[in-house]
């Protein structure tokens, strides 16, 4: 790192005790490159070291997906219940509501205190916004988005039970 030190004698004297900003003449990309290098070399190093020092005991049960765990059944390409997506979509309604409510709540008191805005200007837009979201939620509710969807076999067994 000697090259990074200021070359002339005088400034070395001034810089005693701390590194002057002048020292960091090195390109920013060197730091990023070093970070990337270290970031890559740590996991790779760990893999190499464990490869070198681990004992090798080949055994068929080691090839199972979960060693000494559950025995997998079937493939991963199964169909999910559509209901999960419905819940996720309804969550978006509340999510957006929260995202906008927070900044609004922060400025609400100030807005009321200032003479420029009355209660209508401060509260009205948010009430309108919530009302629009509520319309969406009410619509989803009424059209059965929150009713738990059933597969055909489930529906059939329900009718058998009745």
């Amino acid at each position: 790192m000697a090259r990074l030190r200021p070359k002339n004698e005088q400034s070395t004297l001034i810089c005693v005790g701390y590194e002057s900003p002048n020292v960091t003449e090195m390109n920013d990309w060197i730091a990023i490159g070093m970070l990337a290098l270290v970031g890559l070399s740590i996991p790779l190093g760990m893999m190499v070291v464990s490869y070198l020092i681990r004992p090798s005991v080949p055994e068929t049960s080691k090839r199972a997906t979960y060693e000494s765990g559950e025995i997998p059944t079937g493939g991963t390409r199964i169909r999910f219940n559509i209901q999960y997506y419905m819940v996720a979509l309804l969550f978006v309604v509340f999510d957006i509501e929260t995202v906008l409510l927070f900044p609004w709540a922060v400025v609400y008191q100030d807005a009321l205190a200032s003479p420029e805005y009355g209660l209508l200007e401060a509260l009205g837009p948010m009430l309108l916004f919530v009302a629009i979201l509520m319309i969406g939620l009410a619509w989803a509710w009424r059209t059965g988005a929150v009713q738990w969807a059933q597969t055909r076999t489930q529906a059939a067994s329900d009718t058998d039970r009745q």
Partner: protein, 512 residues
Amino acid sequence: MAVFQLAEWTAMAPALILAGTALALFVFDSISPHSTNRSLLAGTAAGGALASLAVAVWFIVAGVGTPTVDGGLGEITVLSDQFVVDQMALYFMIIVAIVTALIVVASYDYLVGHAYQAEYYSLVVLAATGMSMMAAANSLVTIFIALELASLPSYALVAILKDNRGSVEAGLKYFLIGALSSAIFLYGISLVYGATGHLQLDNIAEVIAAGDADPYGGLLGLGILMLIGGFAFKTASVPFHFWAPDAYEGAPAPISGFLSSASKAAGFVILFRVFTEAFPLGDQMNALIGFDWTVAFIILAIVTMTVGNFAAATQNNVKRMLAYSSIGHAGYALIGVAGLSADGGELVMGAAMMHLLVYGFMNTGAFLFVALAEHWGVGRTFEDYNGLSRQAPIACAAMAVFMFSLAGIPPFGGFFSKFFLFMGALEASAANTAMLAVAAALVVNSALSLYYYSRLVKALWIEEPATTRDRLARPTGLYAAIVVAAVMTVLILPGFGPVVDAALDAAVAALG
């Protein structure tokens, strides 16, 4: 005219009325789900669209957007300049409202026995709200939000025939390409913001003019190219056009008409606004980004119209032919941006706006005729349409009007808008000789398009029917919408003066 003073936000009334209509339909559907009261639903949606149309026409007549020196009210900005209501915004709001009204009236018959009536109408009106807001959006953020508001309902509408494989496939393709191009568009926005530090269009122009963006010319140029990609998707122009034939073919025919007319017009208005407001042409701009952006549009215009028309000429399926012809027309309208220059281009941009208005009638009408044929269940190819004029002369006469107008045959509206485009391109060639090639491509492609448009007219009127058909039904709504569209395609000719004035005024205001 302005006897009473309205609040500034009421300038957005054409879009707000549409939004209110969509919400009213949702409330109605919440109160009585799965309603089959088609007249009430279609009536509400059509009423909303017509009210939006009436308000937009009233505003433009009252002088909103007309410069105050000419006795108008000047352009009105809403929400700290995030939206601007000027003549161009109102002009395109009118196009959107007209197409929405036609589509909704025609859907009344198309949706007989359909499971999702209220959802369909509210999605159509929501998409129209987005398109109406696109017309007025004045900042890259509001442009993107309005674009998404128009796009998301469109994806659902294309796939609304849930039991029809073609419709679902079309919806998925449209959605995937739409998501990709939205991502590209958004990335473009972020690059432009990174280079200039502003999202509002006039502020971007100021930063560029002040030279503050000079160190980031490459970044800005890349951002502009990505924005062009986003616009190309919305207007179905060449690099992102390949969703159009599949989406239009699979979608319900009224929705195809809606997307290819209103959605395309809305894509063009943001294209016009962004490139005239934010990136004004000139030596400084060219030096900054390293290229002249009109060159990109000249290439896009020529390639788009050529690809669209040549592909349309080889189609056997009528809806697919119309889809490719709609790509070709996007190429014609792109001339409006390609012909801009540092100190001119009002005529060519005004001509593109005229073309989009006429196109709103003739193309919507053509797709509604296809909707009528689907309603009859006669089939999809040219041969299936053979001899339909024996049973349905009125609708077939209207279709002939649409076809000849799309081809640009003199007595109809399409001829005049293409004529103005041609004249505008020639005028613009004084500043940029490459526009001569564009003008030549326009003429060659129009001549080619006559081949496949007249092929359909020949099938309808001259060919013998391949099979004997039963008497064809005359659904009132579809017929009414088709006849209105045809009458307007013809009548727009004597009434072309006001249209020309409105379009040219809007173009001058946008460029000035």
